[in-house]
Structures are given as structure tokens and as C-alpha cells.
């Protein structure tokens, strides 16, 4: 039981962390609260289903294709819909949630509301702490961790990362020193969608696929981002594991746990915010910093 909780919590936490990372990246850089973020995760998972199961492509090519297609769709929607209304914050929220609904309905039309599963990328299992863990779960966990590490290196060490961070810190000054802010926003959007697509592609074999599968992760991602402090990558990481483990605990230990796992995790978030309104790793005077 304890080992089960430990391992499942780690996997769920890692997926939330990857999703939250992309969400807080695009929020920090372009000030866009992209509620369609997890819709891209859903799209990528469905693309895996199409490419790997229906078209029978190999694992590597279907993963690559699904990530590329999802990223193109994400960048396209950003260019067509989001960028033009970026100044109106609430309008951005509504447009992105409406886009998420559009994607959901397209998937409903194409595949119906049935629960579906994609084939595993690799088979076999290993014994960890006396618990059977399938290689697929380990692969998912490993890829997610590698992505987290990669994005951290990119942001902290590369020149592109420096540019992105400076746009996040102060848009106008970044513009003044010659950074093409519009292009950086586009690149960040592409990165964020790609991160969502990677997590979607990696969970496709282990989660159930259905057109509403973006709702619950969206709520959890919002909670993770707020819990950790908006724009703080370290915070998103910590928040993701806190909420991932909370959910797993509730599912395993409380009767009817899967019905109320979201509620308990969100209650934890509200409780933390009552003590620290700016989140675990957030900055108290956000307005002054940005």
C-alpha cells in the first residue's frame, strides 16, 4: 500500500509538474492564462491513439508526429485567436476555454464519448519495493523528469532562456533592449504546448482517453500553479508533487476516494493559501516585481 502510494503519487505528481510548468511559463512570459493548456494534452493523447492504434505507426514516429501536430495546432490557435485579444485579460480566458470546448467537441464528434486506451509503448514490468511497476509507467516518469530537467537547463543556461526570462521580468525593457517580444511569446507558447503534448503523449497508454479528460488536469494544474506561486518554476514543481501525493493518498485511503480526490487536493490548496497568500515560492508583491 505505502509503496503503491509512493510510486503512483510520483507519476501523477510528475505529470502535473510538466503540465504546470508549461502553464506557468506562458503565463509568466506572455501574461496569457491559457485555459486550453490541458486541451492540448488531451489532443496529443488522442493523436497517439490515432497514429499508434488506428494507423499502426511505430511508437517513436507516432509520439513525434503527435507532439509536432499538437504544437502546430497550438501555435496556430495562438496566432489566429489569442494574440489579437491579448490585451483583454478576461477575453483571453474566455477564448481559451471556448477553444478547449471546441477541441473537446471535435474529439467527441470524431471518436464519440467512449473510453479508449492507446497501446503501451513498451511491455514488461519490474518489481520496485515489492510493487509491480510496468515499464510503461517508468518510461512515462523518466521522460517527464528528463523534460523537466531539460526545460530547467534551457531556461537557466541558454541565451534563449535568458531572453524568455527577461521578457517575463519586464516586457517594456525587454522590448527596449532589442528583444522581439512578439516572437519570444510565440516561441514560449510553442514550448508550453509542446510540454503539454509530451505529457499527453506519455500518459496516453496509462490513462483512459475520453474527450473530457482535460477538465480534471486543468483544475489541478491551476491549483498547482497557485499553490507554488505563479511564475515560479520551483513552486510549480513542489506544488505538483504535494497535490499529486494528496490525490493518491485520498484515492487509496478514503472510501469513494476517487470522487472526492479533487476536492481534498483543492482544500489543501486553499488552506496553504490562507497561510501564505502568495503561494509557497511566490513573491509577495507581484505587481511591483513585474
Amino acid at each position: 500500500m505505502a509503496a503503491n502510494i509512493l510510486i503512483n503519487g510520483a507519476i501523477i505528481g510528475a505529470i502535473y509538474a510538466l503540465l504546470a510548468l508549461g502553464f506557468s511559463l506562458i503565463f509568466g512570459v506572455a501574461k496569457i492564462m491559457n485555459l486550453a493548456h490541458t486541451a492540448f494534452y488531451m489532443l496529443a493523447a488522442y493523436f497517439i491513439f490515432i497514429f499508434a492504434y488506428q494507423l499502426g505507426l511505430s511508437t517513436i514516429s507516432s509520439v513525434a508526429l503527435s507532439i509536432v501536430t499538437t504544437t502546430l495546432i497550438g501555435v496556430g490557435t495562438y496566432k489566429l485567436f489569442v494574440e489579437r485579444v491579448r490585451e483583454h485579460e478576461t477575453t483571453v480566458l474566455m477564448i481559451t476555454i471556448a477553444l478547449a470546448l471546441v477541441f473537446q467537441e471535435c474529439m467527441l464528434l470524431a471518436f464519440g464519448g467512449h473510453f479508449r486506451g492507446a497501446p503501451s509503448f513498451i511491455s514488461g514490468y519490474v518489481e520496485l519495493l515489492g510493487v509491480r511497476v510496468s515499464d510503461q509507467h517508468l518510461l512515462t516518469f523518466g521522460v517527464v523528469l528528463a523534460c523537466l530537467l531539460g526545460i530547467w537547463v534551457l531556461l537557466s543556461k541558454s541565451k534563449l532562456g535568458l531572453t524568455i526570462r527577461s521578457v517575463a521580468q519586464d516586457r517594456e525593457i525587454a522590448n527596449l533592449v532589442g528583444i522581439n517580444v512578439g516572437r519570444i511569446c510565440l516561441i514560449t507558447m510553442a514550448m508550453a504546448v509542446a510540454l503539454a503534448a509530451i505529457s499527453g503523449a506519455m500518459v496516453a497508454p496509462i490513462f483512459v482517453l475520453e474527450p473530457h479528460m482535460w477538465m480534471h488536469p486543468l483544475i489541478m494544474v491551476l491549483a498547482v500553479v497557485v499553490l507554488g506561486g505563479l511564475g515560479s518554476l520551483k513552486g510549480s514543481f513542489a506544488g505538483a508533487f504535494i497535490l499529486g501525493y494528496t490525490e493518491t493518498f485520498v484515492v487509496f485511503l478514503v472510501p469513494m476516494g476517487s470522487f472526492i480526490k479533487g476536492a481534498v487536493a483543492l482544500a489543501v490548496m486553499v488552506a496553504v493559501l490562507l497561510i501564505r497568500p502568495e503561494g509557497l515560492f511566490g513573491v509577495a508583491f507581484e505587481e511591483e516585481r513585474l
Binding site: E105, L109, I260, G262, L266
Partner: protein, 352 residues
């Protein structure tokens, strides 16, 4: 007596007929009063009753989020808590609807205060995301006590508002108009006796400056939460008694987003905007039942494209086309006029 009637007519002419937006609203509401005379089709009346109820709900969201700037993404918590309270009171204590709906609304005020307390410390996106959590937490509570709340099935078997659908229609219409007028008057910036409008605008625009000018922003934020909660609660209680069921479908995320979609579609910070939005989008949604699979898709696409081309909302765009404010006396005029109807000042630059 005749003098008084004349006075009334003159003020009606000056305050309603002379301002195109108000004239349209007045004649539209008048038209709504005549609908049951034209058709007693229960299906049409049912849609209109829902439209009235949701209009209250959307307007209450606009009061809180549009005027006070407290972005509330969990407005369904007020609606749901009132619906459950009304349903449980009716079922367990046998209270009639005229008692359960106000009590339900008061419970929603309480919920507003509970949600409002974290809101005092959080702002902007944090607040939006925290409020999103409350309906989900409440859903968790509902699922955790299925004996009391009916779990997934909800509380059913409540007394209906009335056996006559036409009566329910008029009731919902009157309550909607009364709520809209109260909310609109409370947020009227030009009003001489109610200052809340100006103060709420000030709290939204710059809270620190508002506090420095001697406004107790804490008090006004909590006031906004409780007033908004009250009206959303009225809508929730009406809905529970009309549908005769209160279930977790009143607490879903989508139901929290509905008033936001309606409001932004119609025009935020106006009160009449969300009502217009509901009157356009909700019947449209019902009409789209002719193509059930495409319904949500068409709805979402309409929202996307309207927001893309009118990010400020429908009524705001329309109002600026048909009305013009006098630059000297701030009176609203028809856009076709060249000179102000009261002070005769030229309404546009470059006119003599």
C-alpha cells in the same frame, strides 16, 4: 392628479425614451410581459423561465467580477449552495418556496462571506483560481455525504413554485427585472444617493488609492461578495424549485464558466450586458438542439468569433454606436443628434 401623470410621462420620456439603450431595454421587457398572451407553449415558456433565472445569475457575476474586479471563477458555488439549501429545507422541514428561496439566498450570502475572506488577501489570477476551487470542494462534500445530499442524483421531490407555468414565468420575470434594477442602481456611477457604484469602480481600478482616499475596501469587497451571492442564491433557489431537483450539475466547472461567457459576450461592467448575453446565447443554445452533436461546437465557435471581433462585448459595442454622451453636462443622447438635448452643446468635436 393630471399634473402628476404629466410629470411621470415627462420623466419617462426624458429618462427612458430619449436614451436609445434604455428605450430598447424597456420595449424588450414590455414584449416579455406579453409573451404568454401570444403563446402558452410550455416548452417556450420553460426556456424563457430558464433565461430569466440565468439572467439573474449572470448579472450577479458581473456585479462582483465586472464592477469590483474580484474575478470569481466559482460562481456556481453560490447558485449551488442556495439550490441545495432551498431543496433540503423544503424536503426536510416542509417550508414553502416563498420561505426557502430567501433562506437559500441568505445561505449563499454566507457562502459569499466564506469565499470572500480569502479574497481579501488574494488578488488577480490567484483569486480567480482559488475561487474556482470552491464549487469543486462543495461537490466533494456532496459526494462525501450521499445520505443527506443525495450524492450524484441530487435532492429531488421538491415542491414546485406553482402549478401554472404562466405564473412561474411572470414570477421569474418580475424577480429578474427587480434584481437587475437593484444591481444596476447599486452600480450606477452617476447616482447621487448610492455611492457604491463609484466606490466599487475605485476598488477595481486601484485598491491602494481607494484605501488612501478613506474607503474601507475590505467592507466593500465583502459587501460585493454578499450582494452577488444573494442574487446568485435567488437564482439558485428559483432554479431548484422550478426544476424540482438540486444536484451536483449545479456545481460543475462549466456552470461556473457559463455566467462568465454570457457576461463577456454581452459586455462586462454593465449589468444589462450579461442579461443581453443570456437572452441571446441561452435560447440559441436551446435552438441548437436541432443538431445535438454539433451544439456545443457551434456555441463555442460563436463565442470565439464574437470575442475575436468584439473583445469588449456586444452591448458595449452597440451602445457606443447608438448613444453619445454630452461632453458638457454628461447626459446621454441619441447618436443621431448634433446638439445635446438638455444644454444644447455640440456633441462632437469640430461642430459649431
Amino acid at each position: 392628479m393630471r399634473d402628476y401623470a404629466w410629470q411621470l410621462y415627462k420623466s419617462f420620456q426624458g429618462e427612458i425614451l430619449a436614451i436609445p439603450g434604455r428605450a430598447i431595454a424597456f420595449f424588450f421587457l414590455l414584449f416579455l410581459f406579453f409573451v404568454p398572451l401570444v403563446t402558452e407553449n410550455p416548452y417556450i415558456l420553460r426556456i424563457l423561465i430558464f433565461t430569466n433565472i440565468y439572467a439573474i445569475y449572470a448579472a450577479s457575476w458581473d456585479f462582483l467580477s465586472g464592477f469590483t474586479g474580484q474575478m470569481n471563477f466559482g460562481h456556481a458555488v453560490f447558485f449551488g449552495v442556495a439550490a441545495y439549501a432551498a431543496a433540503l429545507l423544503n424536503l426536510n422541514l416542509g417550508l414553502p418556496p416563498w420561505a426557502t428561496i430567501p433562506i437559500g439566498a441568505l445561505v449563499a450570502v454566507l457562502a459569499g462571506l466564506i469565499v470572500g475572506i480569502p479574497a481579501l488577501r488574494l488578488r488577480g489570477p490567484y483569486l480567480a483560481l482559488v475561487t474556482l476551487a470552491f464549487p469543486i470542494i462543495l461537490t466533494g462534500i456532496v459526494f462525501a455525504f450521499p445520505d443527506f445530499t443525495g450524492g450524484e442524483l441530487g435532492v429531488s421531490g421538491i415542491v414546485p413554485l406553482s402549478d401554472s407555468r404562466v405564473f412561474v414565468y411572470y414570477l421569474s420575470l418580475v424577480i429578474m427585472i427587480a434584481s437587475a434594477l437593484i444591481l444596476w442602481k447599486l452600480t450606477d456611477v452617476k447616482s447621487m444617493f448610492v455611492r457604491t457604484g463609484v466606490i466599487l469602480h475605485a476598488v477595481r481600478e486601484d485598491e491602494i488609492t481607494a484605501r488612501a482616499s478613506g474607503i474601507n475596501t475590505t467592507k466593500y469587497k465583502l459587501l460585493a461578495f454578499s450582494i452577488s451571492g444573494f442574487f446568485a442564491g435567488v437564482a439558485g433557489g428559483l432554479c431548484a424549485h422550478f426544476l424540482r431537483i438540486a444536484g451536483p450539475s449545479n456545481l460543475t466547472i462549466l456552470f461556473s464558466f457559463q455566467p462568465i461567457i454570457w457576461t463577456i459576450f454581452g459586455g462586462i461592467t454593465t449589468i444589462y450586458g450579461p442579461i443581453t448575453g443570456v437572452y441571446i446565447l441561452f435560447p440559441l443554445m436551446e435552438f441548437l438542439r436541432i443538431v445535438p452533436e454539433l451544439r456545443m461546437l457551434i456555441f463555442a465557435l460563436i463565442v470565439v468569433f464574437v470575442l475575436l471581433f468584439m473583445p469588449e462585448g456586444l452591448t458595449t459595442r452597440f451602445r457606443d454606436k447608438i448613444e453619445v454622451e454630452c461632453p458638457r453636462c454628461k447626459l446621454t443622447n441619441v447618436a443621431t443628434r448634433q446638439y445635446c438635448r438638455a444644454c444644447n452643446a455640440p456633441l462632437r468635436l469640430g461642430q459649431r
